[in-house]
């Protein structure tokens, strides 16, 4: 047997013996040189040195273990689960928050006349037609920003002199057309234009209409705001004076169809303006209406004034 062949055979034999040793079998009859090497091998084996698995085996094992784990227990899924739960909770809170906001009709405010309202009010239309007209004029590009539309009361007077105010509703019988205060058509859809446009298309379905403005004997309101959406009429007498009084009328049965999401921003801004001017506030029921009076006067005085209101 030639040397190379002999050497190869020795390597093969040794390898096979090592395999057997790894399986716990120890050969009995082998040549001395191989026995010496096997003995060294057994010493190393018994030393029980710690080693790590080969990288490819480790990766393979880890991959199989990860794949076999239930998907819900992986950190990624947990993160997703937590963020989903937080998102859902936030949505619910937001929803509740929006529903708990004060409605538009509870706190209507004075809107300064804008070119849009003037134009709108210049057209005499029957009530149903007015709604269509308003909805058609709520194109987003024509509407002012809500914050910008609320101006100090004094500027309202400056911009719209009472004589030039344009009447859009039939004048009440008790009111002298010559002395009639400006009536500002309130467009409650000035905040969320596109959304409100959709809502306003549904308004003709409402049966109620705003009540006719009540009047104080011998006095003419400095400003009148009619909110057809919430069926409220708002008048200001003695504007910007210590005697200023705000009268808000709404039908007693008017508790419906208030789009809180639409009026949220407007209401908030309007309330700020009101709190600066009104100190006392009373509500009385007269002429089938709920009438609220606000002013610096005492509550008793406000009640007395309220009793003098005439249709």
């Amino acid at each position: 047997m030639s040397e190379p062949i002999k050497a190869t055979k020795e390597m093969e034999d040794l390898s096979q013996l090592l395999d057997e040793m790894n399986m716990g079998q120890y050969p009995k009859s082998i040549d001395e040189e191989t026995a010496d090497l096997l003995y060294v091998a057994s010493l190393i084996k018994k030393a029980d040195l710690p080693i790590e698995p080969p990288p490819h085996i480790l990766e393979q094992t880890v991959a199989k273990v990860v794949a076999s784990l239930p998907p819900s227990t992986t950190p990624k899924n947990r993160k997703w689960l937590y963020s989903s739960a937080l998102g859902t909770a936030a949505s619910i809170l937001l929803l509740f928050g929006l529903h708990l906001m004060p409605s538009w009709s509870e706190a209507p405010s004075i809107m300064p006349p804008s070119p849009l309202t003037e134009t709108a009010s210049a057209i005499q239309e029957p009530p149903n037609e007015k709604q269509k007209s308003i909805s058609s004029q709520t194109a987003p590009q024509e509407l002012p920003e809500p914050a910008k539309t609320i101006a100090p009361p004094s500027k309202i007077e400056e911009k719209i002199p009472p004589k030039k105010a344009i009447e859009t509703t039939p004048p009440p019988s008790s009111l002298n057309p010559d002395k009639a205060p400006p009536i500002i058509k309130e467009e409650s859809n000035m905040i969320h234009q596109s959304k409100s446009a959709h809502k306003l298309k549904m308004l003709p379905l409402m049966e109620e209409t705003p009540p006719s403005p009540l009047s104080l004997p011998g006095k003419v309101a400095d400003a009148i705001v009619i909110d057809e959406k919430s069926n409220t009429v708002r008048q200001i007498f003695y504007k910007d004076t210590p005697e200023q009084i705000i009268i808000i009328q709404r039908p007693l049965t008017n508790e419906t169809t208030i789009d809180t999401s639409q009026t949220f921003v407007r209401t908030d801004a309007a309330q700020k303006a009101e709190t600066a001017t009104a100190r006392n506030k009373i509500t009385i029921n007269i002429y089938d209406q709920e009438v609220t009076l606000e002013g610096y006067q005492s509550e008793q005085e406000l009640i007395t004034i309220g009793k003098t209101l005439t249709p």
């Binding site: 030393a47 698995p53 080969p54 085996i57």
Partner: protein, 189 residues
């Protein structure tokens, strides 16, 4: 073992690093156990993988037993080996774990422990004197007990190269052991 408990918890939740670390720690004893009982490196490798899969899938049970992690691994491996034997209709159908542990853990025997530490340290030191490819061949072929094919894959060499490397490394180690006097001393015992 607090660190190990933390690792196990992390592994249970799918933390790949923790899984890596635990498998790195316990792969060798499980594979050696499986090799010893099956007599087949291929079966041993399959059983080792399946052992880890089952262990991490049922870690809740492990927490309830309160056993050592190694013991829990051995028990699962043992069940798998028994199943394998049943499938192959080989005997015995049951395995005595205590018998295996006694056979494998020679180092635990009192008369062996005295020389164990010194010998282990010497062998570890001498292994480090080998060229890298020879040392890795010894580690995978002898200490881990991998077959030639797996060792060749791990080291990126041919099977023939591995056979040559293992022969050279053993000759070199024998020479080193003789130089250190370890081989003579141990042979005398």
């Amino acid at each position: 073992m607090l660190d190990e408990d933390k690792l196990i918890d992390k592994a249970q939740s799918g933390d790949r690093d923790a899984l890596n670390e635990l498998i790195r720690r316990y792969w060798q004893p499980v594979f050696r156990f499986a090799s010893y009982k099956t007599g087949s490196p291929e079966d041993a490798q399959e059983i080792t993988q399946e052992t880890f899969i089952r262990v991490f899938r049922s870690l809740g049970n492990y927490h309830r037993t309160g056993a050592k992690f190694q013991t829990y691994l051995d028990q699962i491996a043992l069940n798998l080996i028994t199943d394998l034997w049943r499938k192959k209709k080989r005997s015995p159908s049951t395995v005595n774990l205590a018998e295996y542990q006694q056979a494998i853990n020679i180092n635990d025997q009192p008369d062996y422990q005295a020389i164990s530490r010194e010998r282990r340290e010497t062998i570890a030191m001498l292994l480090m004197e080998l060229p890298d490819d020879q040392r890795q061949t010894v580690e995978y072929r002898l200490i881990a007990g991998l077959p030639v094919r797996e060792t060749a894959i791990a080291l990126g060499k041919s099977e023939a190269a591995i056979k040559m490397l293992q022969q050279r490394s053993l000759k070199k180690l024998r020479a080193l052991l003789l130089e250190q006097g370890v081989l003579e001393n141990y042979a005398e015992r």
